[in-house]
Amino acid sequence: MKKLPKTINLTLKVWRQQQSEKKGHFENIATQNIAVHMSFIEMLDSVNEQLTLEGKDPIAFDNDCREGICGTCGAVVDGRAHGPQKATTLCQLHMRQFSDGDTIVVEPFRARAFKVVKDLVVDRSSLDKIMAAGGYISANTGGAPDGNAIPIAQEIAEKAMDAAACIGCGACVAACPSASAMLFVSGKVSQLALLPQGRPEAARRALNMVKTMDTCGFGNCSNHRECENACPKELSIINIARLNREYLKASFFSDAT
């Protein structure tokens, strides 16, 4: 078993910004006795309790499920979206990843399409907008045929599941040097393009989701592959290739607009 000190002392260099419109700055906060089996979010909780008792404004940050599935939490920690550990969200990152005396830089996800709300909280509603533009299959409640009516090859179902694992956290955007949302969009487009149920709308979906993505102010994919490396669910850029394919097919060979 690894021998670790039970607690460590850290300095947080954290982004503070009162509101979207106001200017932000970095603030250094010294923290003592951080238990190493705390999650990063729990560490922030304890810092906030300390700040509260000192009469200061606690650090604002989003989080919810605290088990890596809801996609609410997220910050850039020491230059990496969701921190230095692979395939984890911020709430799954534990303090044993850090050493006594470290200074940790904590910044919000940065993108023109993600406005800072306060401190580490950003507005990711543009991702919802993209979904509303076509991230669905138009199947009204009630008219569905039996679930087994259309067999789907296991490999296809598995690939669709790989693409569907996206939690919508926005780390791909945060990590992309161009703040592109292609991995996010490609997850949904891929999932639904792979399944026979999603084919009828595939062309419309690809065109409309890409169009909305562009109007939201995300950057253009430059194939840096930072997204798939930062993704807590390890979505592959194979999905982006599939989106490109779907988009080209839709553009040149379909009647959809």
């Binding site: 700040l51 509260t52 989080n63 809801c70 138009s138 694992a165």
Partner: protein
């Protein structure tokens, strides 16, 4: 007060069909004249919003998170039940109905549960049509697995993320309606109050969590899909923002609360490690298929588990329940673990855990086989605890997981307030005193996709609604009350943080109203809660501004509700002096120490009515009648 559940007449199997025929309809042209508020976007809220909008109603959907996709339904792992009988094992709607009502320890309504079983099949079809990537076999057909409390494989799943995939399916249907302009989405809103006009639910007052503004929203009906109250225990598998607030504020406006003491404790969670801990992570129940549960024979044995020889280990589940062994139901396994820890044999940092050991399974099947089955769970465990379950036994402990109690609703899912519908975990309807695995997803979606779209039409068609706008005085009163409460919380400026109070309330509830309860403890809890509440209103410290993103203020408001609500749970637990399902009263056990039901005196739903602040709530009963199943005592020896 008459508690008419409006259960339709006729044979059990035909009730829902007959009822749908009898329900009055709203014509398509008239539907667009009605506006419906849906609060919450989990499985129930998202599916209801989408389905209602598809019908042509104008829907306004609220969620507390920044996006509807984040609701905590997303964290459900295992699967969703349906009576498809694809596996040819003899499953049927009737069997699913029977298993569910028995699993609930006979404390739910036959008609509701039967309808749930009927609708289970439609749910699977609907989800497949939406593109939910369920697991499939090589032939391309849907795969099933088995789950606790049933002898057939009827659970549909999408890896270990079934809840996520079902929620994203419902979310996509919702977003389609948002795109079509039929649903207006209001994220980052907390419901502060329910607004009644002429005794009907006609709107809500919300707080915008970004800028703190209080907003009034009027509608013709309100649908609450706000989940359970498991966070009363502070440490639970629930998400940070899961809270009882919306339900409790409806309760204060006259909606009655049913069976609040029915809570489910899940036996296999990663134990807590100290005061900093904010949540307990669930480890799938399937681990008990291969893991052996044990504690050291001698209390205070602090040797590393590998160094404790066989003769010094107590495999207490295998000893006590030779036929079911480590696979006893959730409530039994949870109580047994607590008993061991209470007797001082607990392990780990806080001595509040038991071992779940895979050494024998690894020796028997090989590391690879075990990794294939549980690899992702083992990784998840290692991520949190920094110990590898391949090398060292896992440590587990029970945690609050689901709440069966909720706002009382009739067969139409309408509460005691006309026009207030309650769906999913937020209502009390289908799981009785204990919920079976893979049934929560089923209920949320059945309520949202297939029940409320019909019953809300029946309500509109049979009711006269006066015109109401958000300028009505009732909205002003609610806004004023909410503003006053916020000001009061802000002005206390005491010395203890909100989390500090929340932890203490959680500890009281866990100790006295958790896995096992007795009269003395419950009475003590009542005093402790009242004292804590008094201190809260004098000594809480809420930093920051009101008109701003302020998590502390949000949490303070929710905790204030929990402090009031906890009392109702205690009253209910005190009143129900039988043991049933997740509710174990020390006074009511068999000679072997198992839960003993008292059907003669407690075969009813306990319904609590708000009578005023700081006043004991008033209890009513809805008797439960069983015409189709025979009540039996559970045994797992």
């Amino acid at each position: 007060m008459q508690f008419d559940a409006h259960i339709p007449a006729g044979p059990l199997t035909d009730k829902w069909d007959l009822h749908r025929f009898e329900l009055k309809l709203v014509s398509p042209a008239n539907k667009r004249k009605f506006e419906i508020i849906v609060v919450g976007t989990g499985l129930a809220g998202a599916s209801a919003s989408a389905s209602l909008a598809e019908l042509g109603y104008y829907v306004k959907t609220f969620c507390i998170q920044d996006s509807p996709r984040r609701a905590h339904s997303i964290a459900a792992q295992g699967g969703i039940n349906a009576a498809k009988n694809y596996t040819n094992e003899g499953d049927s709607i009737w069997r699913l109905f029977y298993d569910t009502i028995k699993g609930g320890d006979y404390r739910s309504r036959e008609a509701n549960v039967y309808r749930l079983a009927q609708l289970s099949n439609n749910i699977i079809d609907q989800c497949v049509a939406q593109g939910v990537p369920f697991a499939r076999d090589y032939g391309g057909l849907l795969a099933n697995r088995s789950f606790g409390g049933s002898q057939v494989s009827r659970t549909f799943y999408a890896r270990g993320q079934t809840g996520q995939q079902l929620l994203l399916g419902a979310y996509s249907a919702l977003m389609r309606q948002v795109g079509a302009g039929m649903v207006t989405l209001m994220p980052r809103r907390e419901m502060m109050d329910l607004v009644l006009i002429n005794g009907q639910a006609r709107g809500i007052v919300t707080r915008n969590l970004i800028n703190g503004e209080l907003e009034s929203h009027a509608a013709d009906a309100v649908v609450l899909c706000t989940g359970g109250y498991g966070n009363v225990y502070y440490l639970s598998t629930n998400a940070e923002s899961s809270n009882v607030g919306a339900g409790f504020r409806a309760y204060r406006q006259g909606a009655m609360f049913a069976n609040p003491c029915f809570t489910q404790i899940h036996p296999t969670c990663i134990p807590h490690t100290g005061d900093h801990q904010s949540k307990l992570t669930l480890m799938s129940e399937s681990l008990r298929n291969d893991g052996r549960v044990w504690v050291p024979h001698n209390s205070g044995d602090i040797r590393d588990p590998q160094d404790i020889p066989e003769e010094d280990r107590d495999y207490y589940l295998e000893q006590k329940y030779p036929s079911f062994g480590n696979l006893v139901p959730r409530d039994v396994a949870s109580r047994a673990a607590k008993a061991q820890c209470d007797s001082g044999k607990g392990v780990g940092l806080t001595r509040c855990a038991v071992y779940l050991d895979f050494a024998d399974a690894i020796r028997r099947d090989g590391r690879e086989t075990i990794a294939k089955k549980y690899g992702n769970l083992f990784d998840m465990y290692e991520l949190i605890s920094d110990d590898s379950p391949y090398e060292k036994p896992m440590m587990i402990y029970p945690a609050s997981h689901y709440t069966m109690g909720g706002l009382w609703v009739d067969y139409n899912l309408m509460s005691t307030i006309p026009g207030l519908f309650v769906l999913g975990e937020a209502n009390f309807s289908d799981h009785g005193a204990n919920r079976l695995g893979a049934s929560a997803l089923m209920q949320g979606l059945a309520d949202g996709y297939f029940i409320v779209p019909y019953t809300i039409g029946g309500y509109f068609a049979g009711t006269t609604l006066s015109p109401a706008s958000s300028d009505h005085a009732a909205f002003k009163d609610s806004t004023l009350a909410a503003r006053e409460r916020i000001n009061r919380l802000k002005s206390i400026n005491g010395k203890r943080t909100v989390d500090n109070f929340a932890r203490e309330l959680g500890r009281v509830m866990w100790d006295y109203c958790g896995m096992s309860r007795d009269e003395q403890g419950l009475a003590r809890a009542l005093t402790l809660i009242q004292e804590l509440r008094a201190e809260f209103w004098e000594n809480v410290l809420v930093p920051g501004l009101d008109k701003d993103y302020n998590k502390s203020l949000e949490k303070a408001g929710r905790l204030a509700d929990s402090l009031d609500f906890a009392e109702i749970m205690i009253y209910d637990a005190l009143n129900r002096s039988e043991s049933c399902g997740g509710h174990f009263r020390q006074e009511s056990q068999t000679e072997e120490g198992e839960a003993k039901r008292d059907d003669e005196n407690f075969s009813h739903v306990s319904i609590w009515e708000f009578t005023g602040s700081d006043q004991e709530p008033k209890m009513h009963k809805e008797p439960l009648e069983f015409e189709n199943v025979e009540l039996s005592q559970r045994s797992y020896k």
